[in-house]
């Protein structure tokens, strides 16, 4: 009976397997393969006649490292700013706003998220341009003498990426905070904890998985993004993604571009892994420090031993 039910269910995943192996795994493997090759002469894009690590050495030159450093700075700073902006907002929606308004507010966060990010970035380009609304308003108020010179600076890029990835931080934080029911916060107050203590010892630890997911969802795509930086930063907003794209679209050196892309992805994976390990260690340390050992009353040792092991 059960066997008969399960067998077709496994087969249902077959199209997905075939599709992903053909159009995700195989293409990425091809890029890794290209990265060991070279550019054969002026008109070819790639050749794997001679295999070497030479493209990786070529990729990791001074320009690349400088751009890489710039990308990392923008991504880390962007993730932190998103967290600082999103967390109070998510807390407000999940805890302070009446339940019937929450759906509307979350829908309002989602609408910008689902509109084209290039168009939204273009909106910032208009808003920040020297002849744009922000500039004329500041001049009209007498706060600035000349036109606003924000566009095509690193600040504009930072603003653009924070804007573009903010919903990806808000939503997981909101989902996590919404699950921390008010009864737990009330229990914490009843047990004598102040508001600050309740926030740091009950609410935030419970929201930790959401915060971690948000940081991941913002940091990873941000490291690969380059369109935001091109639109708002011009030549100053160079990101690693831009270097990879120009190897494919302008220089026609697919081997070098592939090596750069592999380096980028490897670095992102490494960073996420390190961050995950650090986060788990910190959480473990905090839990050990805050661990509450209940004194075992006589008669029921087994039950409490079980409870202790679980906490």
């Amino acid at each position: 009976m059960l066997r008969r039910l399960r067998a077709p269910h496994g087969a249902l995943a077959l199209p997905a397997w075939v599709f992903l192996l053909t159009f995700f795994v195989a293409p990425v493997a091809l890029v890794v393969w290209y990265s060991f090759g070279e550019k054969p002469g002026l008109f070819g894009t790639h050749s794997n006649e001679v295999l070497s690590f030479a493209r990786y050495a070529e990729a990791a030159d001074a320009t690349f490292l400088a751009t890489f450093w710039n990308t990392l700075r923008i991504a880390v700073l962007g993730t932190l700013i998103c967290l600082v902006v999103a967390l109070p907002f998510a807390y407000w929606v999940a805890v302070k706003v009446p339940a019937r308004w929450r759906g509307l507010l979350i829908a309002l966060v989602l609408v910008p998220f689902w509109t084209n990010f290039l168009v939204r970035t273009l909106g910032w380009q208009i808003a920040l341009s020297p002849e744009g609304p922000a500039s004329s308003a500041l001049q009209a108020l007498g706060l600035r003498d000349g036109p606003l010179q924000v566009l095509y600076t690193r600040g504009a890029v930072q603003l653009g990426v924070v804007y573009n990835y903010l919903p990806l931080m808000v939503l997981p934080c909101y989902v996590a905070l919404e699950r921390t029911t008010s009864s737990l916060r009330e229990a914490s107050r009843d047990l004598g904890a102040g508001r600050w203590r309740t926030l740091t010892s009950v609410t935030l630890p419970l929201a930790f998985p959401g915060i971690a997911a948000g940081c991941l969802l913002v940091f990873v795509p941000l490291m690969g993004d380059y369109v935001t930086a091109t639109v708002l930063g011009g030549a100053k907003g160079n990101m690693v993604g831009q270097l990879v794209a120009s190897q494919f679209q302008t220089a026609q050196n697919w081997a070098l571009g592939s090596a750069m892309a592999v380096l980028l992805v490897a670095f992102i994976a490494g960073t996420v892994l390190v961050a995950a390990v650090v986060a788990l260690l910190v959480r473990g340390a905090v839990r050990r420090a805050r661990r509450v050992d209940l004194p075992a009353p006589a008669g029921e040792p087994s039950v409490l031993a079980g409870a202790g092991a679980r906490s």
């Binding site: 795994v25 091809l30 979350i106 909106g123 494919f248």
Partner: protein, 301 residues
Amino acid sequence: MTAVDEGTRTRRAAPAAGARRRRRSTSTALLGLWGALVLVFLFLPIAVIVVYSFNTGRLLTSWQGFGFSAYAAGLDRPVIRTAIATSVQAAVGAALLSAVIGSLAGLALARRGGRWAGLLTLLLGLTLVTPEIMDAISLLGWFVSLDSDAGLSLFGNGLARLVIAHSVLSTAVVTFIVRARVAGTDSALEEAAADLYATPWARFRTVTLPLAAPGVLAGGLMAFTLSLDNTIVASFVQLPGGTPWPVYILSALRAALRPEIAAVSTLMFLLTLGSLAVVAVVLRRSGDSATDIARTLTGGG
């Protein structure tokens, strides 16, 4: 705790309660102010685009006057009309393809489809977190080799390339939505149908599919909007003559931007808004809370 302590606490608590309530309302007000500011921030550039779509000037960034000339000019240009048509065709194709593949995978995962389920989940998760530039260059190389080296002319078709590329990005979204929806239902329903001598096909059609339908529809519509917005991957895999709308904007950035861009973007924005509204209504009617919908719309996480 001694009686003296108890007494001091009560005496101190009485006058402090008012102050505490005042402090609490201040912090709530501050949080509310912050919330309003964040919402304004989120909508500011969209409002700017919508407002500037009514700019009658020749350049997008310098405001001349209010009018609908940009809409007329935008819809009149064949290049823009072709770009919109390409975008919509690719989006419909990607929505259908990823809805079929993703729904089947979602059903399989929801009912613990074999020992490979964990690996498939991991693979789908990887497609969600891989930087788009990696997807872009890898699919470009792959399509070019399939087309010219293996002689499969399908992959020399620009629309087919766009549909496949966009489906790679959205299959995971559909899968996770359908999985979440079906996992919430009882597999006993299907077992009951089997006990009542329903054939596997009848069981699938009359029990499983109706259960999964809201998820399939929501997932398909989200794949549609994802495809409509895709810029980076599309700019790599597209072929001449088949440029989708966002890639047209990207190439227009190199020249001076004209108000038509804002006008057509506003229209596309309405299309996205419409399909999102349908998603919300479908999920709402099938009994999801706002939180469930939010989780669904972030990719089913």
